[in-house]
Symmetry: C2
Subunit: 325 residues, 2 copies
């Protein structure tokens, strides 16, 4: 009789839900708008409504026996006891919420289910998902990097999430590699998120394309450079466009230099890379690995590897379920 | 009946020895030339001769009862089982040595003592010394930074040494903060060790002094700028010399930017700072803490602190003994 758990991944715009078996099978999925702007109560109601949708797939009796719990990812810092969310920047009006307690109580009052609820930072949860069911499975220690609007990361040490002193560990996007840079992002000079966050990549692509009128970048965006996106840049790169390949090389070079600090500090050699921008794959990974070797001691090059994430957008919900197993 | 242990700290030029009580009292100390250039056998003989010197303070019977073991620090990477030393850069001819086994066997054959021997990287050992008996005692998580010829570091997480995947963790000196820098050190561009290693500090001091003829730096070195040292720069700073204070501020600024990566990755807020250069104290620590806040997220500023190390040159031997407790 295989047990299962519910994973919830709260994003700024959508909440994802999944019922996941202990062996990592996605039994049912669901998604709802977060409606973050409507405030805390609306979001909490949406969470419970998605959970109810999945619970309706089985009887309460079956859940009593087989449901191990609910694991929830939030975009913000979570206390070390996996309960309290503090000032999530993209969830207005939340301040400090004992989300674990709230959901536990509502599960009991609304569904007569007394089950544990674990809350975790979303980047950590994605890392744990990849560790449990994805590209990180072979490794006891790795860092998951999510390249998207921002650069998120989660650290897995000894197959567990490394949370740090207060629960805020893994802010790799905010590592400075250019301490005299004019580019300040989230208050910090020359960070990798500031240098190669998605917005900045598109900006750079537009600049570079402007100076190379024969680039296929014009084709993929129908001559509207404002419509450029990582996906379109990738399309041009796949078609062999040198300008697009140069853009990804530039991204890889900066990423590699940034990951150097993580290798030097933690002696972790494996990076699992996901997120929208990571779709460019080897166009980024190749240059990044090469640069990473330039920014680490020779004695630490053994086993250095950048590995594409496997679970895509499901890493969070899979990680949420995995917290319960 | 208080037990004790022997701590050994192998440096490039000298080996330090100490018999330390469980409560952290230095009962006896000793020091010998390493004679690294004479090769492995000579160094091993020197280690055993220093250990013999301390053992002679008590009878074999007393040691059988009270000696808990020997903890040895080496300047190089040590395997995760605290036994094997690999290619220590400043110990020519060592290659790969099972130092733990070798010393254990010699303790038995030469002194009829069957005791555990633990081998550890010297920077990690200094951190563990400060964690056990020094400035790190109040903190379950901190990073020890040694500012000297190089910049060494050891990471303490949950009151234990964090060794990383292969035992090489804690190379904070090799973090890059200026990835386009012309300054390449140990093969890496723009690292904090390359930017503020002792040699570079003195170089910078000489340059700055040359442009400020009224600086007290000329006085402390009797007009021979080639004789400048961290100690003399500190002397000038203590006497209120603005140029010397500027030098330490420059060191602190770079150190602070470098430590930012450690805070962002590990969410560790405490740094214990030791080593010859750290003698400058607040002249460095003040600017470093200020800059550290500029290179970390605002949400991670709580509790950030730079604390002077307490054990000085004894951190290593104290840490060695502490490994046995």
């Amino acid at each position: 009789m295989e047990k299962y758990a519910i994973g919830v991944d709260i994003g700024g715009t959508a909440i994802k839900f999944a019922l996941v078996s202990e062996s990592g099978k996605l039994l049912y999925e669901h998604s709802l708008a977060t409606e973050a702007a409507k405030g805390k109560t609306a979001v909490l109601d949406n969470i419970m409504s998605g959970v109810a949708f999945l619970l309706a797939k089985n009887s309460v009796e079956e859940h009593r026996e087989k449901l191990l719990g609910v694991g929830v990812g939030v975009p913000g810092v979570v206390s070390l006891d996996s309960n309290t969310v503090k000032y999530p920047p993209n969830l207005p009006g939340w301040d400090v919420v004992k989300l674990g307690d709230v959901l536990r109580e509502r599960l009991l009052s609304e569904h007569h289910l007394q089950k544990p609820v674990f809350v975790e930072n979303d980047a950590n949860l994605a890392a744990f998902g990849e560790a449990s069911f994805g590209a990180g499975r072979p490794f006891s220690d790795f860092i998951m990097i999510t390249l998207g609007t921002g650069i998120g990361s989660g650290i897995i040490i000894n197959r567990k999430i490394y949370r740090g002193t207060t629960g805020a560990a893994g802010e790799l996007g905010h590592i400075t590699i250019d301490f005299k840079s004019d580019r300040i992002h989230a208050g910090i000079r020359g960070t990798i998120e500031g240098l190669i966050g998605q917005k900045r990549i598109v900006e750079y692509a537009k600049q570079l394309a402007a100076s190379r009128p024969t680039s296929k970048l014009f084709e993929v965006c129908s001559n509207d450079l404002d419509a450029l996106s990582p996906k379109l840049i990738d399309q041009a790169a796949e078609a062999g466009d040198e300008t697009a390949i140069d853009i990804w090389r530039w991204v890889g070079n900066i990423l590699g230099a940034g990951l150097g600090a993580a290798v030097s500090i933690l002696d972790i050699r494996k990076f699992v890379i996901g997120g929208g921008v990571a779709g460019a794959g080897e166009f980024i990974f190749g240059p990044a690995l090469e640069q990473l070797k330039h920014y680490t001691l020779h004695s630490m090059h053994d086993g250095l590897e950048l590995i594409p994430a496997k679970l895509g957008n499901n890493a969070g919900v899979m990680g949420g379920a995995a917290l319960c197993f």
